[in-house]
Amino acid sequence: MNTRYKILTGNEACALGALDAGMSFFAGYPITPATEIAELAAELLPRRGGKYMQMEDELASISAVIGASFAGAKAMTATSGPGFSLMQENLSYGMLAEIPCVVIDVMRQGPCQGVATLPAQGDLMQARWGTHGDHPVIALAPCSVAEAYFETIRAFNLAERFRTPVLVLSDAALAHMSEKVGLPEPGSLTIVNRKRPHSPKDKSFRPYADDGSGIAPLASFGDGYRWYVSGIIHDETGFPATASPEAISDKVKHLLGKIENNRAEIEAWEEYRAEDAELLILAIGLVARSAKAAIDQARLEGKKTGLFRPITLWPFPERRFAELADPCGKTLVCEMNEGQLAGLAAQLSHAKIIPLNQNNGRLITAETILQGIREAY
């Protein structure tokens, strides 16, 4: 394999990953610290015959992205907390209508305008529960520029495979830091494209009928299948099915089930020195890198510490987390917010949960985590 090495920022890696995954449409609205993703899309997409479009707001961005996907495009938008909030209603349209797309949320300190240029991990629960109703969510949380590239590609692949919007959670620090990335030959990447229907192009076509795989094939507008979908709970024809209690609960179960039943394919995580640990650290993104440095130091002090880092944040890799956390007895949850993961960790394992929260726009350093380890151990 002919790997090309490049120095990239996290935002550049997201944009290039999206292009290598086959993105042909990007709709967005400028917002710090995500803007460079849009700028790069505006520069590179037209050269490849694709389209960048600057919308009037984030409501329009996500709507246009879903619209483009209906017509067969691999489509993406990128934003930060305030814009991510504006996208929530229509994200659930994509989830219910089962339309693939990718949304990158470059997290910045919040709430409200917060501190636009500084990183945080404040949108973890917005990513999970931001939109209304019970809904399926896949969210990926890279911890390096290289991972931003590969996880953006994986986001497109999962979106196409499971017919659902997929979120990538980056942050202001990852977005703007530079690292070396080994970019594989485009041809060598695994690229997933949505399954197309092969049934007759006539009245018998049921756009939401399970073909036995749990995920219906997806036709594009204009390719000869005539189909309709409503944002109202619908049956396999795409038309409202609100009169039947079974149809309503079946639809929701289907949406949740296609994620839940495929956890093995969707979940990804990293374990670092966790096998013999007596104290487990739970962290995602850049915080996990500080944690690794702290773990190495703690081990020199004889404190057997290890890391569990979900790369797929949602669905949270619950089983593996509990397997590691329970025998340790103690889990130090390090996050740049006021404890969004700590509450979840407490639900998932019997271990004593020790929260280490820092929500001041600064990355949590290895020293801070080491101090936390010393106190918790």
């Binding site: 050269r47 246009a64 619209g67 017509a71 944002g231």
Partner: protein
Amino acid sequence: MSGHIFDKYLRREKLPHMWCPGCGNGIVTQALLRAIEAAGAAQDEVVIVSGVGCSSRANGYLDFCGIHTTHGRPIAFATGVKMASPRLKVIVITGDGDCASIGGNHFIHAARRNIDLTVVVYNNSNYGMTGGQYSPTTPLGSLSKTSPLGNIEPHFDVCSLAGAAGATYVARSSTYHVQALIRQLTAAVRHNGFAVVEAMCDCPTLYGRLNRQGDAAAMLLRWKEICLPREKARSASPEELEGKIVIGEFVNSAERPEYTASYDQLIQQAKAREARA
């Protein structure tokens, strides 16, 4: 002829429709179907995108590709469909609230871009689906469920708004003036650019009842009285225009470039520059 186009374009199995007796939505919808036929659009190249409201439910009775989206967003969804596949004829069905209130921003910006979409605004002067509250097109002084003492907000003129924002085809008609409505919709579907047709439309159950405008037939006849053709309106005095609605074609221009065509040129430029580099 009409039997033929309704067999061709209606999903008969979805009927009867959900609208109240006397609702004007059916008249606008049949005018749209006649226009699609007259414009010669190929059935599988038409995509209908609707928002949320009584009017937006028309989409489900029509046998085209269609998306019933969220409240206020159909123009934004339609923009994505059109950008990904410019050869498709993308038609938006929207209510006055859907278009001019919650979706107002998308409406003016799509007009500014002059992207080739046909937007049919079913203007029944109120929020029908939620039970008759005032909308941005409810006339000053009108009663609604949320203006029980009379509406104190001036209304938007949807056509002026569209024209000022840059739409290149803009027309208005009513459910009484059906032939004109069909002609306008046909021109709008044929038009290469952002086209808006506002259809003044009756809601006898809510707006009409609250404002004592009589039954459905009386409401239809009311359009005959209060609508003034644009040609006549030009020479009318301000007093004569009081309480009148001007109908007709307001904008029909091929001067501004259409957005997806401009985008294709941009792609050619970008590729040429890439090839040189």
